[in-house]
Amino acid sequence: MIRAGLTEICRKPIIELPRRDTNELHFITEDGDDVVKLAKWAKEEGFYLCTMVANDERFLEDHVFKLYYVFSASDGKLVIIEHPLTDPKYPFNYASISKYFSSVIPLEKEALDLFGLSPIDNTMNQGFVLHDPYPPDLFPLRPRRSMPDIIKRIEENKTQVSKSESIPLPEGVLSLPVGPIHAGIIEAGQFRFLIAGEIVEDLELRLGYKHRGIEKLFQTQYSLEEGWKLAERISGDSSFAHSMAYCQAVESLAGMEPGASALHWRGLFLEMERLHNHIGDVAAMVHDMAFDLAASRIAVLREKSMQLNADLGGHRLLRNINRPGGVELTRSPNLSEASDRVRELTDQFLSLGKLVLEMPACRNRMIMTGVLSLEQATELGATGLVARASGLGKHDFRLRHAKGVYAARPEMLAEINATIESGEDGALRDSNGSASPTTSRRAQVLKEELRGDVFARLAFRIAEVETSARIIEILLRSLTDFESKQLHEVTPLVESLRRIASFEFGLGYVEGWRGDIMYWVMKGPGNTIFRCKVRDPSLFNWPALVSAVILKDQQSLEEGRSSLLENLLADFPLINKSFNLSCSGNDL
């Protein structure tokens, strides 16, 4: 279907390259117009843009810069469009697909700072991740620039051009910059609110403060076998999901899959990570609604789940477990006891969650606050829980691109599907499982009008905790059944990596608790990494947060619903918590 579609649209013949993984389709087109046409078609077909990878291949056989677009098709295929910038007139420019996929914009800004590539009709400025201390022509990711060289150039930099723009304000509008250093214990990023009275008229984000040059570190300091160490420190709350995506990318390069017990362990820890983060987020949101009794109780449950992480995997944030080729555990955990602990803490959590969802004061605070409509979520390419709470229920890589243990165990997918189908009312079911007339009516209201608000995101978090707990129980049971709970199941990859030609690339993708994480890893000579592109879900969800805070929906304005959908400045902390995005994953 996809092949026929692509050949039909393109002006020039499109070349297909074989991929080892049959779920991936790889096409090459040199024509910029064709890429834009492809994007238009992909949008109509309901594709989701996973990532855009810029790569400097000027010293490889093609002698040009290249862009790789990765799309997720709804039928479970990943479509990779390779676009070499062969036009001699524009060696550093490309035709942008942002008209159809606005989620590509942060990736384009990154490519401008790190490679010096920009769209042909460029209107963007530098400064997304490289702020004022960096000279404008640094482009650190070009492979010929060595680390000492880059550092020398930054330290000699004397240009005093400010990269941040100041925008003229309309009358009566006040600009309120908040950050990059915040009052709470949170990450560094700047929010600039434009407020008229109490209402937030506009919100500008300035991120990149935490840029640590991670993609360059992959290129220069880490080998393919060692890269997981860096990957799991990209965003601490998603440590396991990041290292898992990295390991999958390397395994896909080597053309192998780890053994069954390793896959089960990975699935288990991925869900454990989802569990402790969702519980922690609910605690933070309830705290922001000043319901501190419940918030403290839920925070204790988060602590318990982190202690369980430490007892099972040896680390409270589940680090140091994944290796390319499998998992390595330091101790033999007590699985049946773990199962009891999970059940106990989930039961307590669900009863507290039900209390919060039914509490009139909390409902009043959450419902219709920070609405991200289905249209906006689709338009902005939002991902993960945020997208699901806005009505994109099937947007879950565990379902769309089931891999590893998820592909092997259909009963787990059934659990995930059940959460989506029961929708937001899943968490509102009565204790005996049947929906009472009031709850089902509430669910009806929820489905029709209230999708994508803070309430929906909270309800979805609670429902996903329940799902994760069920999956964890399934996995713990199967792990107990394994003949020997192999703790050191790592298949050596050195031999198979040696056989792979240099400059091949592999994809790794995982549905972490925040959304899908995608790694694109290209092998260099030996076991070096030529390029590792990391795409954290936060990158796509930051624009969605802005859209949820400010009212841009013309239709609601006309219908006079605007006063319901407008957000006050004091709503922002709650909306922000309901998204809980990562700055470090965004800034890299």
């Binding site: 560094a188 935490k210 420190r233 925070a299 602590e303």
Partner: protein
């Protein structure tokens, strides 16, 4: 209607528990709460008698210098009822102007240099600084990156003379708590 009555009953129950905390003798409440939370941090493990002899409280300001947010998770955990850092007189403060101790996380990125310096300068003397986590000690896994720079001399000096390094990636809440108490012991 029924649901909201249930909700009220639960709130009352939670409230009663908090009340118990206030009115029960400490030794009894301690036993109850320890039974409630296994692995809870006991007062003895943290040398509380030493600390309470000093009868001082400290205000702490957190400063993110490019961490992976792992250290932030553990810092936040200190406020949960299991660790309950405020019972030691230690409070997280929202302004550097009211802070006695600055807790720095992350490897010190170039983009945050100015903001970090301003935060440090806004603190009243004497400025005590804690370098939290492996990245804050030597850059950790990000050590050789172009985006990381050496901390300004005065901040480094404040760590060496009046502060501590707390190693770990990230350190556990208990280790952080011990580190903070070390700073108090040092001053």
């Amino acid at each position: 209607m029924k649901n909201s009555r249930n909700a009220n009953v639960t709130v009352l129950r939670l409230f009663a528990e908090q009340l118990a905390k206030l009115i029960l003798p400490e030794s009894l409440y301690k036993r109850v709460s320890e039974a409630m939370m296994s692995n809870a941090i006991t007062f003895e493990r943290l040398r509380l008698p030493e600390l309470s002899a000093k009868k001082r409280s400290v205000f702490i300001r957190h400063l993110d210098c490019g961490s992976c947010n792992g250290c932030e998770i553990e810092l936040n955990a200190l406020s949960n009822p299991v660790y309950d850092i405020e019972r030691f007189g230690i409070k997280f403060e929202s302004s550097p102007r009211h802070a006695d101790i600055l807790v720095m996380t992350g490897p010190f990125t170039r983009n945050l240099e100015e903001a970090a310096r301003l935060t440090f300068e806004a603190m009243p003397e004497p400025r005590r600084v804690i370098a939290l986590g492996d990245c804050a000690a030597d850059g950790g896994v990000f050590k050789d990156s172009y985006a990381i720079r050496a901390r300004p001399g005065e901040i480094d000096e404040a760590i060496r003379e009046k502060g501590v390094y707390i190693p770990g990636c990230p350190p556990t809440p208990e280790e952080i708590l011990k580190g903070i108490l070390d700073v108090l012991a040092k001053n």
